[in-house]
Symmetry: D2
Subunit: 361 residues, 4 copies
């Protein structure tokens, strides 16, 4: 158990891949926020299966239904419950997995931990759970929009295909113009072709999602344990298939000397700025007003359309091959999930900072 | 505020670099655990300043004092309060910083967030706070030892000097045989020489700490938000100067295909094992019994013994140069800190799993 | 916001009186528990409106629907989402209240706190929310039953009609044999007649629910802040209309001397017992194995079928009179709610104690 | 374990009666608050032992020492660690208790729960722990003072001696003019004489502390679980020896009809008020701007200067008689503790409300 996330803006998700519904309760949304349901739906549409040729072909409308917490179009301060009904679950495709542990899936660890496992579609370990995060993240985005905060995630790597340009050299408005969500058109086409090729081989591939948060006010983050980047890291690492997180200069920064890496302060129009931003917008665990940027590594999907060796629940050697409908690469659909989790973290920290910040005490 | 960490095994730290003391309260240590104070002290000694030529020369005994929670040598289930008195604080070395924001330090963000700042030695943002983590981590290690769990961290990169061998090819017992805590003797010497050279230049350098956790039982980790690697990631990212975290195949794994990356299950002496371990011992956010391993990126120390451009609290351009005693590279002293945070996370998850796990309900 | 309760066994509720649904997510139910849906429904039936002549006549089936967390009849360790659809909401009965603050209701404070208010049926402040607690409490009871723990609540006072007998002199199996849930038949009849008379006058009346928990193991409760009785107290005080909580000797006990009040220990069949039980089964905040008993005070319902003076949202004097369907006394329906909250507290503390309790460390 | 309390203003206490020190870490005190150490000390002096003839004669200076979180007289936003060294512990007086379970003490339950017990002075179960609460409460009072919030607790009952007047008929400035802290001089003298008589008999007596909170702004309290009175109730019930809590009309209110009990709204100088205040300043779990008042029941102290029957850890019948220095009645010293816990709750809820409250979203 640990299906809640956040301190003041707190989400609790539920639901399995082939259960009745997947949903979320948001507790701690300030009252008076206009809830634009169309926007929430649009965000879900960015994540939903069947949206393009390079993602799973499971057909779900993923239509959001709001059960509580909204009155006359606005949040009331009461918990906002939202859910999506599962409509296209084909549990038959999973019957052969009831007694088999798929390699690099959560089948074995769930069985070992809980002694029972809903094997249909991966049950609770399915990335279908992330739709609840996207719905909650959409609400957070509606709030952050009031503060001028913008969040842009995009695909920056698929397998060996790497987007070398820094985010400042990109037009982030291009992200949604292609199926793989890479803001470089030429590279996007290569990525799409590559994923199609991988799929044809019954194989899968990993990738990286990059994310930039603009106009974050100075002061978000709660040292020493809930540093802003620490919580962003946890939020990202909690997404299915994530293997790594780095912000600012990240792992590359370790090769630099302090004299290269330090971001020099200067003043620009009454605002304190830094000349470079190796800090990634966060210093001492607190936002400094510069762009926050980070990268999230996603492993290749574990379900293959190939025979794989494995064992069954009796410990006997067997072969397994994916049936059903799966993503050859999670990265394109992960883009809105990364944004959603970033929005949830930023909103939560904004509220905590607001609580404790007194101008004249 | 967020100076507590953990759910059931919960630590709360306090103290500034040049305040009276730095300490920790552990709440949730099971009763009956023998508390080996010498061991706690030894762990602190691994972290303490002045221990070698390549770390800060601040002279602190860092002698642990236990104020509560122990009776006749054993934990009682009551909170364990431990502290270390600050003895060698030289606050004069910091007076010139009272009104200056050092580049890439937390000076500016603390001032902006709190409107007040204890500038002496970095105040609360100083890595001196991590001694409290090491003390608490030592208690966690005493507990984990009862379960046979072992944790080994080591320096695997300093600047461009990279330890290429995987951890299985290393003798981890060599870690403590050299000042830089790298288990490859030849590389360790190069690293030490390199850090000395960097220091001579008044500069600093980053690096990577790798960590391996052995004999972790199957079942630790609490999806969907408190996945084991997500919490390990947060714990590591909360350490001063950390910029990135990856586990198992990490960022490199994104280049792999599923058919290469999947860890094939097999049975060995009644135990379910995997042939490879790109999963890093964690699947679906839950430990699978294989070794857990991860890497933590540390940026170069921000304080330089060089002149740097910056601004003061009035926004005027000034120059600043470090005085006092500083590390040219945090990595050697970070090794026990990484271990401590790993121990705290594993113990906490062990307790949560124990709470919820019923064999015959 | 604070719609979650519990540490390890944690419930999050949502829903308004006239919204689409009211429900709960249980996070932290151990896997492998048989979920007897009929039992959950029976518990809801004990709370539901329209069940007798002395309660509100709103007609709700209150049929439980489980959306997640159960597989083949058993809990899986994943969140259990349950809800009830609102079917008989008559929001028209509340239109006259949109701009009026009913005396001693939450209308004014909700409006002042949130700046917006779902006035229909009291919105989130309606006791309809408690059905979510009863559903969750039913799951907790299924768990506690495995441990042999039994919980009995009953009506012990309606207005001036007081059940003078101590619980040991009562046959608690009679509680469900009458509409007012008082285990003394003669007094029950008086109470029922009295409530009917009160209703006829368009008035309401308060009362007391007493509760006994049997076979609670020694050791539950987490000092110093989460003492067992402190958490039971909070849980009860969080129920709508509750004004007081006392356990064991309670407020009467303050008149006693220590020499009268102390419970003398003795040994009975290898079990440590106390001769008296003024402690109410809890000493130092921890259960001692004796019966836990406590009393919960409920104020008279605020909605009257009489004209009352009040003000509207403009601050103008107006008169208001209840429409719709209301309870003349909440106590009979509060009995299962008190039991549910007690069950949730006990289960939660049981899990926490299990986590931290090692026989041979 | 559960030695932390509060959400945003969060305290963590440690220490045993005869250990080295008792203390507290405050996490979440807003930065910039002037910390008046003299005031903190004065609050501790109101609680300290040996202050008068009717309390325990243990001689402790209870001098507060602040270790962190303050810079140039103001809070910095970092954790404030405060402690008091134990100086007059006479552990010899407790040696005869090492193997005996004192009636109605926490000896047996601590032993059973933890398997180990610091029997000296009651260890962690001693009310000496409450000094940490008073120190933290003093900081909360300094904050609340900025908002104009005032908290007055007083002794309203000792045994059968009951202060019948409502708080509005009392001069609360008289509380500190007598040793028993009763604002009615004549009754105070009777109470003092009574307690002396009880002490002479080697016996003890219970009592009630009443508390009034004035000028609490409208809007504090977080339904549905963290209603303001629910959290006040938990906070009070967590104090040693407390057996009951009621607010507003409390247990007496259950006898009233709704038509008597409802508090009629009216407007006074642009402020919404109620004509009566049976609600005790809280409606729907949220403060309504009227005075908050509540009562807390304390049982008679368990330690008697008389022989009592009991059993030892072997289960054998033995006799036990208190040695050492004890209170014949905890109530006089409990007055500042009740105020402290009330202050902590109000400050915490103030911060949470501030976080979530937006005027124009």
């Amino acid at each position: 158990m640990s299906n809640s996330y956040g301190r003041l803006f707190r989400i609790t998700t539920f639901g399995e891949s082939h259960g009745q519904a997947v949903g979320v309760i948001i507790d701690g949304c300030p009252a008076g926020l206009e809830i634009d349901i169309d926007f929430i739906q649009k965000e879900l549409d960015r994540r939903k299966p069947g949206q393009s040729a390079i993602v799973t072909q499971r057909k779900e409308a993923d239509k959001i239904q709001i059960l509580s917490g909204i009155f006359e179009g606005k949040s009331t301060g009461s918990p906002i419950a939202m859910l999506v009904w599962n409509e296209d679950a084909k549990s038959k495709d999973y019957e052969h997995l009831a007694n088999v542990f798929r390699p690099s899936h959560a089948d074995y660890t769930y069985q070992a931990k809980y002694g029972i496992r809903d094997y249909r579609g991966g049950g609770r370990s399915s990335a279908r759970e992330t739709l609840a995060r996207v719905a909650a993240g959409a609400v957070a985005k509606l709030f952050l929009r009031k503060l001028g905060i913008e969040i842009y995630a995009y695909t920056s790597q698929i397998g060996e295909l790497v987007l070398q340009k820094p985010y400042k050299a990109l037009d982030l408005n291009l992200v949604e113009t292609n199926e793989v969500r890479c803001p470089d058109r030429a590279l996007a086409e290569q990525m799409i072709a590559y994923i199609k090729e991988i799929r044809k081989q019954g194989d899968t591939i990993g990738g990286v999602v990059s994310c930039v948060c603009k106009n974050v006010p100075v002061g978000l983050g709660e040292p020493v344990f809930d540093k802003l980047h620490a919580e962003l890291g946890k939020a990202m690492l909690s997404i299915n298939a994530v293997k790594g997180f780095e912000y600012g200069s990240g792992f590359e920064g370790v090769k630099m000397r302090g004299s290269e890496h330090n971001d020099i302060f200067f003043k620009e129009n009454d605002k304190i700025r830094t000349k470079t931003n190796f800090s990634g917008g966060i210093q001492g665990g607190i936002s400094n007003g510069e762009d926050i940027y980070f990268r999230v590594a996603f492993k290749p999907v574990a379900t293959l359309m190939q025979n794989q060796e494995t064992i069954n629940t009796q410990g006997e050697s067997v072969e397994v091959m994916g049936k059903g409908r799966h993503d050859p690469c999670v990265v394109p659909r992960a883009v809105p999930i990364v944004e959603a989790m970033a929005a949830i973290v930023l909103m939560d920290f904004y509220l905590v900072h607001k609580a404790l910040n007194f101008k004249n005490l």
